[in-house]
């Protein structure tokens, strides 16, 4: 079934969750899919190894926006180590997509990759600062 007829996707696309800038984020990471112009930026507010708050801003097709929105929902409140484990497949399952062609996987991969980088950036900063908040 095309994602156009999956309510969950269209709902996330039209009413994105956590689409916000977080001013006092302790990690911000943005990336883009140059071949299609999609961009995603993720804001993390981490506290004692847990994602207290998360926001995203971005621009792209319904798939990439819906998966960014869903991803923030899934990540919010979870341990960093757990959030790091979220894969494209998990997102697809949650969104209700059974299969996705090779040319569209990257629309979902972008937010996943961006979240990962935001977390890694946070961890390495924390490390540098002498080991954890």
């Amino acid at each position: 079934m095309s994602y156009f007829f999956i309510e969950n996707i269209m709902d996330h696309y039209k009413n994105p969750r956590n689409m916000k800038e977080i001013k006092d984020a302790n990690s911000v990471f943005g990336d883009s899919n140059p071949t299609c112009g999609d961009t995603v930026k993720i804001f993390l507010k981490v506290n004692e190894g847990k994602i207290d708050d998360i926001g995203f801003q971005g621009h792209g097709c319904a798939l990439s926006m819906a998966s960014s929105s869903l991803l923030t929902e899934m990540a919010k409140g979870s341990e960093l180590q757990e959030a790091l484990k979220i894969t494209e497949n998990d997102l697809m399952k949650e969104l209700g997509i059974t299969e996705l062609g090779p040319n569209r996987i990257k629309c979902i991969a972008l937010p996943v990759k961006t979240l990962k980088m935001a977390i890694i950036q946070y961890l390495s900063k924390a490390n540098h600062a002498g080991g954890g908040t």
């Binding site: 095309s2 156009f4 071949t35 299609c36 792209g60 097709c61 319904a62 569209r104």
Partner: protein, 398 residues
């Protein structure tokens, strides 16, 4: 006149396999008639052996078929056979000519236009960097037409002028003959990217006067992996082959070698002979339908495309309103081009989304997310354009 479209469509097995398919991505690659598909299978089944030099019967037969295809295509393009080099696609043709001209480019000027496909930008950037040459880009106006004043200015002092005969995004058709005349008066060697022209326009390359002309078989009913670089015979004889190997030499000794005659000196290695023979068959098929008729019919399609689609609220397109190729690159306010294509797919309509390998052109027109592109061929019809418009209206209401 193309009237009996049903009979034409039934020549293409894909529409039998998938009767609901509305295929509007012919600028990326065309569909292929049964005759072409069967011809390729015939080569493999009846006289498959390597071309040239073999003197047993099958090798003679395949060589004859291969060289006959070259003659067929030469007649179709208004050139002579020894001026046609078989390549794998337009992109290889353009890289080949760029490297051929490299020795003439030292500190020179290469001029292209803002309409170019990446395949007519990047090879020139490469040889420009090797030869320390400069690249100038002729601007287009808001309708995607050549800015004449800018052309006059930039063409002066140019060593090589290379341009798309028909733009794969804007649908503009350039006045090739006139621009070539101007460029030649300036002493430039002229190269034409004909990937989007050759499938749709009756060509006569000798009359046009281009020194080089590149095209792809797969965009004009032929098999994949076969293209053409036409080159003026005199130039081909003078220039050195940048790529070499088997079949393109008369003699090779421990020291030195002697190149084969043109065009073979530019065809190293075993060619895609089944592809070339299939391409010859494609050209025969096009001749039978008639390129003049195809041109007329597609003008109608192009006009209808603009008329129907511009009725849709929030739709913007790139290129001229009139006299356009039968393709339209557009965006729709509130919808990413990928979503447009994905939605149309649910209605069995195949259009492409993205930058169509012409990102600078999209950026120029502020299409930063790319566009959706419907590109038609003579096997499309008015009803399909209506289906497309209907589906887009549905999307807007979703």
């Amino acid at each position: 006149m193309i009237e009996d479209l049903n009979s034409i469509r039934s020549d293409f097995p894909i529409f039998e396999f998938n009767p609901k398919l509305v295929y509007m991505d012919s600028a990326a690659t065309s569909q292929r008639p049964k005759k072409v598909i069967d011809k390729v299978a015939e080569v493999y089944t009846q006289y498959n052996s390597n071309v040239h030099r073999g003197i047993y019967s099958m090798a003679e037969k395949v060589t004859e078929e291969y060289e006959d295809a070259r003659k067929e295509i030469a007649a179709f393009l208004g050139t002579s056979a020894e001026e046609l080099i078989f390549t794998k696609n337009t992109t290889e043709s353009l890289n080949l000519v760029a490297y051929m001209l490299l020795p003439k480019l030292k500190n020179g000027v290469i001029t292209i236009t803002e309409l170019e496909h990446h395949s007519n930008i990047l090879p020139w950037r490469k040889v420009a960097s090797l030869a320390n040459a400069e690249i100038k880009t002729v601007a287009v106006d808001q309708e995607g037409k050549i800015n004449e004043a800018d052309f006059e200015k930039k063409i002066s002092g140019t060593s090589v002028f290379s341009f798309a005969h028909v733009s794969n995004v804007a649908g503009t058709t350039l006045n090739a003959k006139k621009m070539i005349r101007t460029a030649k008066a300036e002493g430039a060697i002229t190269v034409v990217d004909g990937a989007q022209a050759a499938p749709h326009i009756k060509l006569n390359l000798h009359d046009m006067g281009a020194d080089f002309y590149a095209l792809s078989g797969h965009k004009m009913l032929g098999p994949t992996g076969i293209g053409i670089l036409y080159g003026n015979k005199k130039l081909l004889e003078d220039l050195e082959p940048p790529f070499s190997g088997g079949e393109m030499v008369k003699e090779v000794h421990a020291e030195g070698q002697e190149w084969n005659d043109v065009p073979w000196k530019f065809e190293p290695g075993t060619p895609n002979f089944a592809g070339a023979i299939g391409f010859g068959e494609a050209v025969k098929y096009l001749e039978k339908i008639g390129m003049g008729d195809i041109e007329l019919y597609e003008k109608k399609l192009g006009r209808a495309l603009v008329e129907e689609l511009t009725k849709i609220d929030g739709l913007e397109y790139i290129g001229p309103m009139e006299n356009r190729a039968s393709l339209l690159s557009f965006k729709l306010r509130g919808y990413h081009p990928h979503d447009i294509a994905a939605f149309l797919d649910t209605r069995s309509i195949a259009v492409r989304s993205g930058f169509h390998c012409a990102q600078p052109l999209h950026e120029k027109f502020g299409f930063f997310d790319g566009s959706a592109r419907a590109s038609l061929y003579f096997y499309n019809n008015m009803e399909e354009i209506e289906s497309l418009a209907r589906a887009l209206k549905e999307l807007v209401k979703l």
